[in-house]
Amino acid sequence: MSAAMEPILQVENLVKRFGGLTAVDHVSLAVYPGEVVGLVGDNGAGKSTLIKMVSGVYQPNEGAIYFAGRPVNISRPSDARDMGIETIYQDLALAGNLDASANIFLGRERKKSWLGGIVRTLDEKLMIDESRTLMEHLDVKIPTMQAKIDNLSGGQRQAVAIARALYWHAKLMIMDEPTNNLGVVEQGKVLDLIRRLRSQNVPVILISHTMHDVFAVTDRIVVMHRGRKVAEKRTAETSHEEIVQYMVGAKDDSRAAAD
């Protein structure tokens, strides 16, 4: 299937160094429309660093990123968001002193014009209404839309972060440990959401430590170990045991290929 289609995202030989440490070491990866790619690896394997280069938080030292077939320079997070890359970060990246609606629209506030556009104020009503509709659509209950993030539970915060990413109709969704703060039922709902995105042809990159989740929803699994991509497998053609062997460094396809 992938051969016939143009990848939405393609990264080639990305390298990211922090001082003497090479966090991401010549990693290449392609993501096709309607595909869920699992990105797995032990702590410190470079998964989060890799996706942060795609979402604009970090700039790669080497390598190229192509989005929708064109080479792109993502020098800040707003560049990625403007292209249609939405990211749900592991730390959620919410401003705790603002309410859910302010966070969902942060950086992209809806405004009202006065005096022919000289004065532009926040359209709070519109943003709150849209946020409420969105949260209802997601079947998430938060006490009031005016409640500050600091006063919400972990699961509610996670829901706000997910809602923010969904609102903007992403062309590519990156989820870094999206089920971290959630109970079992809610975890199932996140997986349903990922399947729904796939059915809408929106590709998803899923970072997760939970093998069960990865095997439940992904089409392909990419394994990283110490900054390198050590395996790329079709989910249907591999097993928990094999993936874990790659994760701990017992197996390494990149070495095999090089030899």
Binding site: P77, D139, N151, E186, K189
Partner: protein, 395 residues
């Protein structure tokens, strides 16, 4: 994606504002929100009862005039502190702006008509302040030097520059009309037989003498001399009017605009603001420019009020302004605060200043009172954070 099970459980006790609280906690919470207002009212009541002449129109105006530089410097500082920064340069930036504006009128364009001199002096004073703010902002945002250090350095530079430019003196020799801009007012109250309430429409250009004869001349400043002139009360002097216009505009900007939203977001979680696409560096630069320019405006108004530029006009006021901001409930951790709080804080300080004089207490006691209040204010802030659970996320 329904978070039904957990969400329902969490919505019940934890509704908007966290866990169930004891009555004591509720009381502390309420107190931490309203204490500054209560304290201001208590001060007003106390001084009115104890100090002869405190409760008077004239003294109310003295308080407002005294609060002008505190409010102006406090306003810019409010924005900066909400964003998680601090601006220690405002005092000497105010002095530098005062000196520069005075030099423009005395030395640079002494032969121009006053209609040209005064606006250009304002522009130059605000401009030099804005430049100081730009430097503060650039070094803080782009080079990641802590704002405490950057603004301290800029403070010394501004201090030196102001004294050098002023040659160690007050820059006097200003056009005589400048004094009216700094001291005349929107309204007048005249005592005695011909007494009453007068507008000051005559101050506007293009108002003809005929307009001033309407309503028995109550639309214009009356011609007075002797005892009547000394008994004249100026209500809302121009610096006070300008200050409150700026205050209303900035309160609006903070509450209702994207600029204000970004300010809170950066103070709440700078990294999150950045990842959401907020132009964080640019915004921080603009905040320091804003802070410097409100200080610059205070400096220019000082020049107008005293008909002279003084390098040290803001020196003693900077920490007073920061005290006002803190008393007004702006969190030094960033992310929280309001313009109205800063106004109350500034008024508390101005009331203390005038009130202590009127009950014949040395004003030096003011510093002791202020010092205690500032620390108590921050303790209240922390108590509130502990109760609402915010402290846990901060720590």
């Amino acid at each position: 994606m329904a978070l039904d099970a957990k969400a329902e459980r969490l919505t019940q006790p934890e509704v908007a504002g966290g866990a169930r609280r004891s009555n004591t906690q509720q009381a502390i919470l309420l107190l931490s929100r309203v204490w500054s207002w209560v304290f201001l009212v208590m001060l007003l009541v106390y001084f009115s009862a104890a100090g002869t002449g405190f409760f008077s129109l004239r003294n109310s105006q003295n308080i407002l005039v005294a609060s002008v530089p505190i409010i102006l410097m406090g306003l810019g500082q409010t924005f900066v502190i909400i964003s998680g920064g601090i601006d220690l340069s405002v005092g000497w930036v105010m002095g530098l702006a005062s000196v520069v504006s005075a030099l423009i009128m005395r030395d640079v364009i002494p032969d121009q008509p006053v209609e040209v001199q005064v606006p250009l002096a304002f522009v130059a004073g605000l401009g030099v302040a804005g430049l100081a703010g730009l430097i503060n902002g650039l070094i803080t945002a782009k080079l990641h030097v802590p704002p405490f250090i950057v603004t301290l350095g800029v403070s010394f530079v501004a201090r030196g520059a102001a004294w050098v430019l002023a040659e160690g003196n007050v820059v006097a020799g200003q056009p005589p009309q400048l004094r009216s801009l700094g001291n005349e007012s929107l309204f007048y109250v005249v005592r005695g037989d011909e007494g009453g309430f007068y507008f000051n429409l005559g101050a506007l250009r293009g108002i003809s003498d005929e307009v001033c004869t309407v309503l028995n001349g109550h639309l214009c400043r009356p011609e007075l001399s002797g005892a009547a002139l000394r008994g004249l009360d100026r209500v809302f002097t121009w610096p006070v009017v300008i200050t409150f216009v700026v205050l209303l505009v900035l309160a609006f900007v903070l509450r209702r605009t994207q600029f204000g939203r970004y300010t809170y977001a950066i103070g709440g979680n700078r990294e999150a603001a950045l990842r959401a696409g907020v132009p964080v560096d640019r915004h921080i630069i603009m905040l320091y420019i804003l802070s410097a320019m409100t200080a610059g405006l205070a400096g220019v108004l000082h020049t107008a009020r005293f008909s002279g530029g003084a390098a040290d006009s803001g020196d003693a006021l900077m920490f007073t302004a920061i005290a006002a901001v803190v008393m007004g409930g702006v969190s030094l951790f960033g992310g929280a605060g309001r313009v109205a709080g800063t106004l109350v804080g500034a008024l508390i300080l101005a009331v203390l200043e005038t009130g202590l004089v009127m009950i014949n207490v040395q004003t030096f006691y003011k510093y002791i009172v202020v010092g205690i209040i500032v620390v108590v204010a921050v303790l209240m802030d922390q108590a509130r954070d502990l109760i609402t659970g915010r402290a846990e996320t901060v720590a």
